[in-house]
Symmetry: C2
């Protein structure tokens, strides 16, 4: 199956690891946008078709390489369904549905990595921005908002601050607050950051 790449055809685990390492290295060197499956395959010395076969799309390869606990195709429709109204509330619910689940452990791990390693932080920022936030803003018709990028990073400041205090620092009573309590408290904050008056 591996054929013309000539790399240990009997050891898919080794091939998988080689591709993931090459992907991580390529993403770090070039950023998410400029990295291509072809470039990553070149760095791993395998055929691009093999990378596709093992990992699917570039999004999926990125998620596998960094162990990101969310996929844009899962999150986006849930957040934008219903348009601008109550988008803040849906964002809190979607966030909690992932971070309160067993996948939250991967979230904590990647947040720790981002704090320790600036290049991980930059990569994640680019991925989340180009694959989640910009498409979401387009979907709800805020593409041309001159404050769009400020709105996006304000949302990140509150969402990542919630991740930090609830799951990493475990500050009580926030760490054990219910979904209803967090939606009531933080939903309006995110709604205002996305659609409200935030300018000086």
């Amino acid at each position: 199956m591996v054929g013309k790449t000539g790399r240990r055809p009997g050891d898919p685990a080794h091939t998988r690891k080689t591709i993931l390492d090459a992907a991580m290295q390529t993403f770090v060197e070039t950023g998410f946008e400029k990295a291509s499956i072809r470039k990553i395959a070149g760095a791993a010395k395998v055929d691009p078709a093999l990378v596709h076969r093992y990992f699917g799309t570039k999004d999926e390869l990125f998620i596998a390489a960094l162990d990101v606990p969310i996929t844009p195709s899962e999150v986006l429709p849930r957040v934008v369904a219903g348009g601008r109204a109550e988008v803040g509330e849906r964002l809190v619910r979607t966030f909690l549905s992932i971070w309160d689940s067993p996948r939250g452990d991967a979230g904590v791990a990647i947040l720790r990595s981002a704090v320790a390693h600036p290049w991980i932080a930059r990569l994640l920022r680019e991925f989340v921005f180009t694959r989640v936030i910009l498409p979401a803003f387009t979907e709800i018709g805020l593409d041309d908002d001159p404050l769009r990028d400020r709105r996006a990073t304000l949302v990140a400041s509150q969402i990542l601050g919630l991740a930090l205090t609830r799951y990493v620092l475990r500050f009580e009573p926030l760490a054990s607050a219910s979904e209803a309590e967090l939606v009531a408290a933080i939903g309006p904050t995110l709604q205002r950051y996305i659609t409200g008056d935030i300018d000086a």
Copy 2:
């Protein structure tokens, strides 16, 4: 000067270091409230009076041991002056006046430590809660608010989220936003968390 403690009277740097190590160890073992200058002096095998002479109060010793870039006596009056009105705005301004200054580096360092070490996170939470947040809530008359602790941790989630995205992850355009922009965007969030309707 060191006299009856009998420890290297000629080496104040060594004595200082011994006290700081004993303080850190005692704070970690017992928490901030239960640690006393007497206990710390015992662990350092020096006279309590010497600890006072080198570091002043327990607050000041804590700040020196953990390299915390704020002192409650500096922050508190600025945040509570004026009562409940505009407390959110004053909180953003006070926060930025410290984190945008050279002292912000110590803030970034302690945030990284708290993310990496749960015991540092617990200690800081207790210190900030008992020495800054509770006194501030008392000053502005919110002592008996049944949601007081939830309000306090919501404030922490947004303030630490701002610290994380602006100074550690350096997400643009938030990282280079002006004070006026941050006060306009985040002041109302904190105001609502402290005095507004946040319940489910």
